[in-house]
Symmetry: C2
Subunit: 313 residues, 2 copies
């Protein structure tokens, strides 16, 4: 479901590093060369490149990117090269209630991926992700977000339908009473497996008529409700969630490059194929065309490379 | 710091399994043989024995122990052979507010060990530890226990002293206001690293005069406060905590075999040497002597084997 194109014959890591180093050297930077390498390597390969680059040139690749690249192009190359631990750390530092990055990392990754990000967080920042989230948030947001980022859900498909029925009822009662941040809603969304939550939300719809997210829209401007809806979508339907983030980023007055970059860089290797299909269905325009229309230069080229678009070299 | 004695020359796993199988066979069970094997193998060896036993005899070793052993001896051999995931699962099912097993598993293990227990929990029970804890508890207990068992603390020694000072102040304010289950106390105890919490509690004592646990004793009979004190002790001074559990288990009218078994079986391989020293300092009687006086037969022999006591074969 990835849109990333890795060539069938990949150069050695040493060669990749040498080429990257060359791209940074001399007068001006060779952005095309950077895209042709980094835009066509998977996560494991990129990790290895960072490691060998640092060993060979005594400088973190990230530092080199910092120095050589600018603005949106720099950002997309960096988000693509970094891992979730960095994104999460950044999000804890500039937390605003509308920041959904933490929800995405906590809910749209597999339980194992979230765990690896937490492990990387320890190594990089000498503290835990959850303590930073807890420290930088408050009130209802903290109540929901700390358990979400601390979760290590069961990852299997086993589902308990009796439980799904009873918890659908609990959710409906609490939502009807507008107790959106009550213990039960937080508990169900932050501890149950994705398969179990999916079953519960199906029961919810069967039993009470509405998608839960429709019932969570009582006040469309309430930031906590919007985070709650993002949580639900990232858990049970991440492709639809990301399609909408992309659509809003592209359609609004003045493209939201931050969101565009984040979604393309974090989903290209996961489910971007499906996101593209969803986008086309919903907007009647291919995603690459829409992005090409809204962006330019190296930034555009990098995004399109990640979307699997053939480059006009 | 372990009291477990593993012989310098350990028989092959196949031999161990054969001997165990022999111990279960025929008329009567050879308890001495079981102790001489299982009482002298480390966790990795016991795990391998269970695996090979199942492959060789088509029966889980646990089932065999179930059938052949009884009462306290059965319990100590099983707790010793099982891992934390089982103990935790048992604890979620028969939760009473005085049950401190979950606190011990969440706080007296290393962050990595807790994580491995959660992973084993997924595999064994097809759900997460935290969802079971959340489902079976309520109120203040749930508020504290779910984040504790969900924690994946930073495990390093780095400490932020400014943070320690400010959080010591927060703890003191909340405790003075008797807000024992407030967000801040739960957040600090469930997300900060053990080294950081230790620094914070040192600040607390320097600044406000008392050990925090003294201030958490406002009502000695309050079950939530007692769980909170256990949390603090398991985090910063597990040996003292377990020494006291042992001391109370032995000294009370009618030994508390449940607690005795749990502490010996879960700490023999961790810090039992220190616990023994603490016990002797505090009670002026060696722990082995005290246990030998309070227990009999195979149960006594197994406990003493785990305490590193030379067996009088």
């Amino acid at each position: 479901m990835s849109t990333l194109c890795v060539p069938s014959h990949v150069p050695s890591v040493a060669e990749d590093c040498e080429q990257l180093h060359k791209a940074f050297s001399g007068w001006g930077t060779n952005e095309g060369l950077i895209i042709s390498i980094l835009g066509h390597r998977n996560a494991a390969q990129r990790k290895l490149i960072r490691q060998v680059y640092a060993e060979t040139y005594g400088e973190d690749l990230l530092k080199a990117l910092d120095k050589e690249l600018t603005s949106d192009f720099e950002r997309v190359v960096k988000v693509w090269t970094l891992d979730d631990a960095y994104l999460a750390n950044e999000a804890t530092k500039k937390w605003t209630s509308s920041n959904q990055v933490l929800v995405e990392i906590a809910c749209a990754r597999s339980p194992k991926e979230l765990l690896l990000a937490r492990e990387a967080y320890h190594a990089l920042f000498k503290k835990s992700l959850e303590e930073d989230v807890a420290h930088h948030t408050s009130g209802d947001f903290r109540k929901l977000l700390v358990p979400l980022v601390s979760s290590y859900r069961y990852g299997g498909d086993d589902v308990n339908l009796i439980l799904a029925k009873s918890e659908a009822k609990i959710l409906h009662e609490k939502i009807s009473a507008k107790e959106y941040s009550c213990d039960d809603i937080v508990r169900i969304l932050s501890t149950r497996s994705k398969a179990q939550i999916n079953a519960t939300l199906n029961q919810y719809k069967n039993e009470f008529g509405n998608d839960i997210n429709k019932d969570l829209k009582a006040d469309a401007k309430d930031e906590y409700l919007s985070i709650l809806r993002a949580t639900v979508k990232c858990l049970v339907n991440p492709e639809k969630y990301f399609e909408k983030v992309l659509r809003l980023a592209i359609n609004r007055q003045g493209t939201d490059e931050g969101a565009l970059t984040r979604v393309v860089a974090t989903r290209a290797e996961v489910d971007m194929k499906i996101i593209k299909e969803e986008y086309q269905k919903r907007s009647s325009v291919p995603l690459d065309k829409a992005i090409a229309k809204d962006t330019t230069g190296d930034y555009e080229n990098m995004l399109l490379a990640l979307l699997g678009h053939e480059e006009e070299a």
